[in-house]
């Protein structure tokens, strides 16, 4: 299957001993000239790259307080050293969050601090050499920007901020990552990460309508570019195709149908994901966000709802208002944007959705908190709603639910191993090894509680799980969408009457 060994899953996780350099070879493909230039970056490594890199570092330090404060404040206490799934899964010391930050900090110190200029050895400052740049390229692409380290750092130092800055510096000197930059290019021109044009999209949605009608006897619609609809749904483009994503999309459609609201998707803004964040580029992130604003204006909708995706929800919840606001042309009675889970949860609270939970009885579920939802956003109006709301939905739709151990969920959740722009085949070894802590937690509930499936609300998590579950001896279909569970159990009130029997059963 691959030229590396899948890590063992142990009964009780232990912190590994350091193995220096074992992941140095892990580097994603470099972006080609045309994809770099399309985003306004140089095509290849510029001549005076050392100088340019330092210039960019200064620029970013002046624009981001986080970067400046985080570069200065680390005391090397070591609290974060065992918190990164990539360190736990690979044992490479440069995957310890503080060591990853130090790759940039050593250069900042060398050129921009008194101690580093005059006593570099004393404070661990280093010249910016080709070797250092190589390290940057390897290890800043071994950070999924999951923010787990920032939970435990006494100063809240967020390594994600550092790797975003480092990736932007590398882009600026002409060393971009192929996967992210090609995708941003597609999303910025075609409207989605897959590069799916309007006709293909329309076709797919039509196919889904037929499928659902065949299945349920109810004409559930999947509207596209429908002017005057009340709600614009923005969802990751993986929802149109991939398994189990598409089952989630069917779930959203059924919920909208049952709620009796008019809704639409947009072919112009057919992507919730925003890879601009992964490369730390405010401008690119803003560019993609403005498409959503434009779609909302053009279609004349009143509300914006986002589908299941982790980093997309971070950009939507935390940044959209900043990047593309103000949204004063939308209905002020609803938050902008709303998460599909908030939408469904509201209806459940108001008792507007009826479920036949037994439809999901063949499964015992657990829930994977996606890092960007858990540690970089919220749902509902209370802190922590991002944990409670999806679980409440699962419990409303299923009889059997068990949480994974406390140190692997909630704010302590482990990344799936594929976030932050690393969901690419050229990083397969990293993805598999980085999934180890998550897989260990999953194994615990599989063995102790008979869990059969894990639900998630992130397109990247879902794709990553599908890929890595088999490496650890689990089934690739163990991963399900939360709205897939909703879809299975939701009773459509206008369904042909042969369903009444199972309704009665559920109520008994």
């Amino acid at each position: 299957m691959a030229d590396f060994e899948t890590p063992e899953l142990r009964e009780y996780p232990i912190i590994p001993k350091l193995k220096e350099g074992v992941m140095e070879h892990s580097k994603p493909y470099v972006a080609k000239v045309q994809f770099q230039e399309a985003l306004g970056f140089p095509g290849e490594l510029v001549d005076n790259w050392e100088e340019k890199a330092l210039e960019k570092l200064d620029d970013l330090r002046g624009r981001y307080r986080s970067l400046q404060v985080y570069l200065d404040s680390c005391v090397k206490c070591g609290a974060c050293t065992d918190k990164c799934h990539y360190y736990l899964g690979t044992s490479d010391p440069k995957n310890m969050p503080v060591a990853r930050q130090d790759l940039l900090r050593q250069v900042y110190r060398r050129y921009r601090t008194f101690a580093g200029k005059y006593f570099p050895k004393l404070v661990g400052a280093k010249d910016l050499t080709k070797d250092v740049l190589d390290d940057w390229y390897s290890y800043f692409h071994q950070c999924s920007q999951c923010r787990r380290c920032s939970v435990y750092c006494p100063y809240g130092i967020d390594t994600a901020e550092i790797s975003m800055a480092a990736r932007e510096i590398m882009d600026t000197i002409g060393v971009g990552q192929k996967y992210c930059n090609e995708i941003i290019g597609k999303a910025a021109t075609v409207g989605n990460n897959l590069g799916l044009p309007e006709p293909a999209l329309a076709d797919t949605l039509e196919g889904l309508e037929e499928e659902v009608e065949e299945d349920t006897g109810v004409p559930v619609k999947f509207p596209l570019d429908q002017k005057g609809a009340e709600i614009l749904l923005v969802t990751p483009s993986a929802d149109f195709f991939a398994e189990p994503h598409v089952d989630g999309l069917i779930g959203y459609a059924k919920v909208f149908h049952e709620a009796g609201v008019s809704w639409t998707m947009s072919s112009y803004a057919s992507e919730a994901a925003n890879f601009g964040m992964f490369i730390g580029s405010y401008e690119n992130m803003r560019n993609l966000s403005l498409r959503i604003r434009k779609a909302a204006e053009d279609l004349g909708v009143k509300r914006i709802v986002f589908g299941e995706c982790g980093h997309a929800w971070r950009v939507a919840y935390s940044f959209l208002n900043t990047l593309a606001g103000p949204f004063d042309f939308l209905d002020p009675n609803y938050p902008v944007p709303q998460h599909i889970c908030e939408f469904t949860y509201d209806l459940i609270q108001k008792d507007k959705l009826k479920f036949d939970k037994s439809e999901n009885d063949h499964m015992t579920l657990t829930f994977h908190d996606s890092c960007n939802v858990a540690r970089a956003s919220r749902m509902g109006d209370k802190a922590g709603g991002q944990f409670d709301i999806p679980r409440a939905i699962i419990r409303a739709a299923c009889n059997n639910f068990v949480d994974m151990p406390a140190d692997a969920i909630g704010e302590a959740t482990f990344c799936c191993g594929g976030g932050g722009g690393l969901l690419t085949d050229d990083l397969m070894e990293l993805r598999v090894k980085g999934a180890q802590p998550r897989m260990e937690a999953y194994k615990r509930v599989v063995e102790d509680n008979g869990v059969t499936n894990v639900a998630a609300i992130c397109a990247i998590c879902k794709s990553q799980f599908t890929k890595v579950l088999p490496y650890y001896g689990f089934g690739m279909t163990d991963i399900v969408s939360v709205h897939q569970l909703v879809s299975e159990a939701l009773i459509l009130s206008d369904a042909p009457s042969d369903d009444t029997e199972s309704n009665a059963e559920a109520e008994a």
Binding site: Q68, C74, G78, D82, G156, E161, N321, P337, R375, R378
Partner: protein, 242 residues
């Protein structure tokens, strides 16, 4: 006026100047630099009061560190608590009439030095024996701890073993406050203690000791989680909209 007291007077004036100017410049830099995006580590407080509470817990109890590792928390907290009490106790050297509560905490401050040094030794041991912490340590990280340990132990020796002429020491520092140079005891232990304290003050604004102001400026800790309710826009980001 002996050469010794002149030297130490200059040393302390210089150290104070560097400390204050260095810190003010850094704090001004942090305050001036915009945080363009809302990035509190969630779950985060949804209003200002909540954020104040979060910061207070973080600064007083080291809550995040407690979640991370109990040993580092224990040693780090002991050290900082001890240091705080010891510093407050030292206020008496700068007041002709000491405040009531400064007198009150004298005995606590005295024994807090044990907590301080034990904490420091614990942190030092972690740095040497835990392979992960050893890997991330530069020489300056060990030296910083050593510096604090020697300051602590030299102070404790003067408190508990060989007393120095503290009346004269007090006279010297009160003198400095009035810009007049008074005699200082030429006691080796005291001079070591004072030299290292001055050194610590000098390196404070150019070292990792910046974590002290830094923690208050950390966006992941000090931001309110309300991006949907309130539009947050940095000046340079607003320029993009023109």
């Amino acid at each position: 006026m002996s050469a010794l007291s002149v030297t130490y007077a200059i040393l302390f004036y210089a150290a104070t100047l560097l400390l204050v100017v260095g810190l003010v410049r850094k704090i001004a830099l942090y305050a001036r630099t915009p945080a363009p995006l809302k990035i509190p580590t969630t779950p985060a407080p949804v209003n200002r009061t909540g954020v104040v509470l979060r910061m207070v817990q973080e600064v007083v109890l080291f809550t995040s560190l407690f979640k991370a590792t109990k040993w580092t928390w224990l040693f780090g907290w002991l050290f900082h608590l001890g240091l705080l009490l010891v510093l407050l106790r030292h206020l008496r050297y700068f007041q002709a009439e000491t405040w009531f509560w400064v007198d009150l905490i004298q005995p606590f401050g005295k024994y807090a030095s044990y907590a301080m040094v034990v904490g420091l030794l614990g942190l030092f041991a972690r740095r040497i024996f835990v392979d992960r912490v050893r890997y991330i340590s530069a020489p300056s990280d060990y030296l910083m701890l050593l510096l604090l340990i020697v300051i602590g132990i030299s102070g404790m020796l003067m408190t508990f073993v060989t007393h120095t002429d503290i009346v004269m020491v007090k006279g010297f520092f009160l003198g400095l406050l009035r810009f007049s140079i008074e005699p200082l005891p030429s006691d080796l232990l005291l001079l070591t203690h004072l030299t290292l304290v001055a050194l610590l003050m000098i390196i404070f604004p150019i070292s990792k000791l910046l974590h002290a102001p830094g923690v208050f400026f950390s966006p992941s800790r000090n931001q309110v989680d309300n991006p949907r309710e309130k539009r947050h826009l940095a000046p340079w980001a607003a320029d993009l909209e023109k």
